[in-house]
């Protein structure tokens, strides 16, 4: 029996598991969280003993059916609270998967090693947030954090909240905040209506299959209108201010390139601001597996195969396109990883192609304008972990001795902190490129997740639990 190991149990990973089981494989499904669903189908903790959890879940029924089908399947081994920290390369075969099982960042987690015949990587993405003055103040959250705390813990990050950034994801974030009784003062979309409209409608013939997604977005938009949350385009939060925490934000009008139109800044009192400028794919494991990248995504062929033998990729790491698209790419990856006949999944293949087209449209409609660098001041922190500011980074980029990507890192410590450049990496890369300096290759982290030295010293290998 083919053993398919799937890393990540979000929409893509769960669909991959479902398809691989249907194709007759044995499946090991791993996720760092306690429950499947990923960020999109974030579930309430069982300990909340909610009688009506469906009240707050979007598209929950199909997900629930799939979750039960996968987790209850006799050929499926579900490994919750399992963090993959390393992939060990093998010739001509997918790598060994080294993971730790136990509570998050615990000190005595159990080590497991899985030996896959095929490996499906579905590690998803996290919010990308551009730096701006005051973004390190407590009360500034990523849009995803606000969403996770609202959906996963019934917690409102503030009472008077501003949502800012770009992309359709800002709307469900605002809706989630409303559901935990936060007052959403406004949603600011940095792109101009013209940019968004042109991005979505180019090659309009392609748009028809996206009606379901469009309907979903319209549903959110209608919900917004009912709740009277203003949606303002061509504007952004460009500064957060307060004494030790957010007390007010500065909102400015932007040109199409996101540079600030002078004199348009106005302040708005708020105790929380939730920001998301698109997403960063979590590429540590694909890079560790030696997979080729295409820009900010894993390069995959029509069968979701990466450049490495036996390694497949699905979901947001193959291109940011949202949960429905992730499901289709997961189905394709799981089915083919299990050795299924492609002729029997023509529907999923077709939907996956539409999903990819949707992702291209999304990127065109909600680009990041290069003018954001004008929001920065010399003392604006760029690397949150090491508190490296813009002036410090600029000094290193300007000096010929330190302008190399590695030297910039070592001279400033930007990217050397606990998050290993996950948050500041894209911003540092863009600022380096703008200064004409060398840009670091991101995501190369031999240790993908933190592991304690004691755990490393005591590794006991248990294969394929």
């Amino acid at each position: 029996m083919t053993r398919v190991v799937i890393v990540g149990a979000g929409p893509a990973g769960l669909a991959a598991a479902d398809a691989a089981l249907r194709a007759g494989a044995g499946v090991s499904l791993l996720d760092a969280a306690e429950q499947p669903g990923g960020q999109y189908h974030r579930m309430l903790p069982a300990a909340f003993r909610a009688e009506l959890p469906d009240k707050i879940q979007h598209g929950r029924r199909a997900f629930d059916r799939r979750r039960r089908r996968v987790l209850d399947h006799p050929r499926c081994t579900w490994l919750p609270e399992t963090s993959v920290w390393s992939l060990e390369l093998r010739d001509g075969e997918p790598p060994l998967v080294h993971a730790l099982r136990g509570v998050a960042d615990g000190a005595d987690r159990e080590s497991v090693t899985l030996v896959p015949d095929a490996l499906v990587l579905a590690t998803g993405a996290h919010d990308r947030v551009l730096p701006f003055p005051g973004w390190t103040l407590p009360g500034v959250f990523t849009a995803g954090a606000a969403q996770a705390l609202a959906k996963g813990e019934r917690l409102a990050v503030g009472e008077n909240v501003v949502v800012s950034g770009t992309g359709p994801f800002l709307l469900p974030v605002a809706a989630s905040l409303s559901q935990v009784d936060a007052r959403v003062l406004a949603v600011f979309e940095a792109n101009q209506p013209r940019t968004v409209l042109r991005g979505w409608t180019r090659d309009a013939g392609e748009l028809v299959p996206h009606l379901k997604k469009a309907g979903e977005l319209a549903g959110y938009a209608a919900g917004q209108l009912r709740q009277r949350v203003p949606y303002r385009m061509g504007r952004a939060v460009v500064e957060a201010r307060g004494d030790g925490r957010v007390e007010e934000v500065v909102v400015a009008r932007l040109r199409a390139d996101w540079s600030i139109i002078p004199g348009t800044g106005r302040t708005l009192a708020a105790d929380a601001v939730c920001v998301g400028h698109g997403f960063t794919a979590q590429l540590e494991l694909p890079v560790a597996a030696g997979c080729d990248l295409a820009g900010d995504a894993v390069l995959v062929d029509a069968g979701q195969r990466t450049s490495r033998p036996g390694v497949f990729a699905a979901g947001e790491i193959t291109g940011i396109a949202g949960a429905p698209s992730a499901v289709d790419s997961g189905t394709v990856a799981g089915w083919l990883a299990a050795g299924g006949d492609p002729a029997r999944i023509t529907g999923a293949l077709r939907r996956r192609d539409r999903g990819r087209a949707f992702g291209r449209r999304l990127a065109r409609a909600h680009p990041i304008g290069g003018g954001w660098t004008g929001w920065l001041r010399p003392d604006t922190v760029i690397c949150r972990c090491e508190a490296v500011d813009h002036a410090c980074l600029n000094r290193a980029l300007a000096a010929p001795v330190t302008a190399g990507a590695r030297s910039v890192k070592l001279a400033t410590r930007a990217g050397l902190g606990p998050c290993q450049g996950r948050i500041c990496g894209p911003a540092v890369a863009e600022l380096s490129a703008a200064a004409g300096a060398e840009v670091a290759r991101p995501h190369h982290r031999p240790i993908a997740q933190p592991i304690r030295l004691g755990e490393l010293a005591n590794l006991r290998t248990e294969e394929n639990p």
């Binding site: 500034v140 935990v180 030790g244």
Partner: protein, 102 residues
């Protein structure tokens, strides 16, 4: 003007909360079984519990374990991401200052 947990009694998902008690730097803090440590701290009105290398306050930023801004010490375990660790009754949480590490 703080983060706030939807009260269990009025929550539309009908939670049946079980209270838990933690200490944070020795002070008692109450929470609800199932919350993360970050959730407990936020709901208790704390928006910051760590200082960065420049001495500035930090709390939760990414909320999903990517940024490491929210790390705390739980019992004998340092550098635990508060947004990813479920709080357990009796947890002794201590806040951290990055400057101390140097």
């Amino acid at each position: 003007m703080s983060p706030r947990l939807v009260p269990g009694g009025t929550d539309r998902v009908r939670r049946r909360d079980r209270p838990i008690r933690l200490t944070v730097d020795g002070e008692p803090v109450s929470g609800v079984d199932g919350q993360t440590i970050a959730g407990v701290l936020l709901a208790a009105g704390r928006t910051a519990w760590r200082t960065d290398p420049a001495g500035e306050p930090r709390g939760v930023f990414c909320g999903i374990g990517a940024c490491f801004d929210c790390v705390v010490t739980v019992g004998a375990e340092r550098d635990v991401r508060a947004c990813r660790r479920r709080a357990r009754d009796g947890d002794e949480v201590r806040t951290q200052a990055r400057a101390e590490d140097r």
